[in-house]
């Protein structure tokens, strides 16, 4: 699919003579040497990115790695020194002021770390700012701002002033302000970094909920790997102005490109990254229906390594689990379902961290279903222990560095 944002050979050099800095980069000098020689600071260097429509793309890096500069190059709050940024195939770097303003007010909204609300305006008028700037009439823009506030759960506070709200609520206003213009792309610069950890998690959930309702392309800047893993479909890691690795969270964790990337995992809980779907058994599981007899069930289980079979409904939805040893309690012509254990299956996306407590309560393996409730596989105890052991060693290994 054609990416919605395509960045090619993008450079930003700050300072007295950016073109000279650019030449020195091409000569292969590093950031520090260039600064010493010319006083120019390399912000972003040779950046190539393809961001797909509808994904949450997280740009990660330490402070000074150029991530905030990069996001501002996307809507040209910062003028690039060289390279191109295409949004839906149109080059932002060549747009006239008029085209740029149109793009910003219609397609690209932004959420800021410090919220950047207007203290003299009420919450609803803050949320309506983008529409006000675009010249939408007062009644219409308030109506749309109210809808946006409703989406973030702040409708009741529409007439408050920002300083009467908590930090998390203020950022929800910031989010509503971005949503009110119904943009297809949202740029979020460390949007949740100023919030308390609990509120931050809550905001991440809200963002994911909003994405489920209406998928937008989100470019999310963060320095927090836990956050990146939780919300990111893909993560780009920046170091010294360069993008050093792009990939899905699991790819980056299992194969970090360099020491810098690896250093982010220090103290990160990898059991949050891996999910039930990653560690389940999906082969060699006998599938029975509600009428299968105990005799046949025993027969089927005897042919596989495991000692369990699952009973599914006609539509493939999970019903219950039968263990071989319990089948012995029945005569061969009774239905196997009489000794089956009925339990709540887990989703494929349930985090590894949450599985042990489920396993402890369950006499059998944990059934895994997809989002439609269709059976996908079983998380057996040996599999679970193995996965937990692996993630613990990985964490220890990364922590050592």
């Amino acid at each position: 699919m054609e990416p919605i944002i395509r960045v090619r050979e993008l450079y930003k050099v700050f300072g007295p003579n950016p073109q000279e800095g650019l030449r020195l980069i091409e000569d292969g000098l590093d950031k520090d040497t260039i600064f010493e020689r010319t006083g120019n600071t390399v912000g972003v260097k040779a950046c190539d990115l393809d961001i797909a429509e509808g994904e949450i793309f997280v740009v990660m890096g330490l402070s000074g790695s150029g991530k905030s500069t990069l996001v501002r190059l996307l809507n040209r709050l910062i003028e690039p020194t060289a390279g191109t940024v295409e949004v839906r195939g149109r080059d932002v770097t060549r747009m006239s002021q008029r085209e740029l303003i149109r793009l910003r007010s219609e397609d690209l909204a932004m959420v800021f770390q410090s919220f950047a609300l207007m203290p003299h305006k009420t919450v609803i008028d803050n949320a309506a700012l983008g529409l006000e700037i675009a010249g939408v009439g007062r009644a219409r823009r308030r109506e749309r701002a109210l809808e946006a506030l409703d989406q973030v759960g702040l409708k009741a506070h529409a007439r408050s002033y920002p300083d009467e709200l908590s930090g998390g609520m203020q950022q929800r206003v910031g989010l509503a302000r971005a949503l009110a213009t119904d943009p297809s792309i949202m740029l979020m610069d460390e949007a949740f970094s100023a919030l308390d950890p609990l509120i931050r998690t809550d905001m991440q959930d809200r963002l994911l909920d909003l994405q489920r309702e209406h998928r937008r392309t989100v470019v999310f800047i963060s320095h927090d790997l836990d956050e990146a893993i939780r919300i990111g479909d893909r993560i780009a890691i920046m170091q010294g102005g360069e993008v050093v690795q792009v990939g899905m969270p699991k790819e980056i964790i299992t194969a970090p490109a360099n020491e810098y990337v690896r250093s982010f995992f220090h103290g990160v809980d990898i059991t949050q990254v891996f999910q039930a779907g990653d560690i389940m058994d999906s082969e060699n599981i006998p599938v029975l229906d509600a009428d299968t007899t105990a005799g046949e069930a025993r027969n089927r289980i005897a042919h596989v390594p495991g000692s369990e079979a699952v009973i599914l409904n006609a539509d493939g939805r999970f019903r219950s689990i039968v263990q071989a040893k319990r089948l012995n309690e029945l005569t061969v012509d009774r239905p196997a379902s009489e000794v089956a254990v009925t339990l709540e299956p887990v989703g494929e996306d349930m985090a590894l961290a949450e599985l042990p407590s489920r396993a402890a309560r369950s006499p059998v393996s944990i059934p895994v279903v997809d989002s439609e409730g269709r059976f996908r596989g079983l998380v057996t105890l040996p599999r679970l222990v193995e996965a937990l052991d692996r993630s613990r060693t990985a964490a220890a290994m990364n922590g050592d560095r």
Binding site: R104, S105, M110, F112, A116, P119, G130, E132
Partner: protein, 280 residues
Amino acid sequence: MEGRINIPVGDWIETAVDWILDNLEPGLDGIAWFLGLLTNSFEGALLAIPAWLLVLVLVGLSWWRVSWRFGIFAIVALGLILGMDLWEPTIKTLSLVLAATAVALAIGMPVGVAMARSDWVEASIRPVLDLMQTMPPFVYLIPAAIFFGLGTVPGAIATVVFCMPPVVRLTNLGIRQVNREQIEAGLAFGCNRRQLLTKIQLPLAMPSIMAGINQTIMLALSMVVIASMIGAGGLGNTVLTGIQRLDVGLGFEGGLGVVILAILLDRITQSVGRRRKGSH
């Protein structure tokens, strides 16, 4: 004084003044006409209103915008002015202050905005402001009197020059102090240059600008009193008469009138920038 170096700055200024008098007469007349009109309109309007009604309005404003205590102070203070028979000079002073402030704001705020937008403009205006503020106020009286004669108009002009710097400085400062992310928010949501100024920068700079306006009004009031020396009239005249006759009582009464006016103007203008909760 043989051998001493003598730079005739005074002579140059006199030459310049002569040149202006000879060549810019119509311009000076225009300014004089406009300022005269403005002050007279304010004065005419304020004197046309019955004193009790104006007192009521001022007390109401004090009560509503500041506090009920200040409202009571306003009743007593304005009652005192009426009782001292200083109503007319007080109104004359007030009109001069209002006219001078209006002109100072009309010139000063755009200058402040221009300074905020360009470092070059800021660097070139700043020394002019320093000069305007540190020059002893009496010095303005001389050219004002030469260009415009004696009376209300030169008083108003000297006042405009003297009271303008704070609003220029604080408009500039207020706009420059607007948070970078708030500017970016404006731009990111599609502001053009004009919208950035009117929708983001000026509203966010408003507390600072209001402080500047308040300072400008206070300076205008102090200058209006001094300007009575070239016949601007009002409370300053009362004080001046007191001095000339060595009449301590009269001088004190005039001074008290100025103080009361200052307190009322200060507190009421300070409250304008403040938000009233639940007013929407």
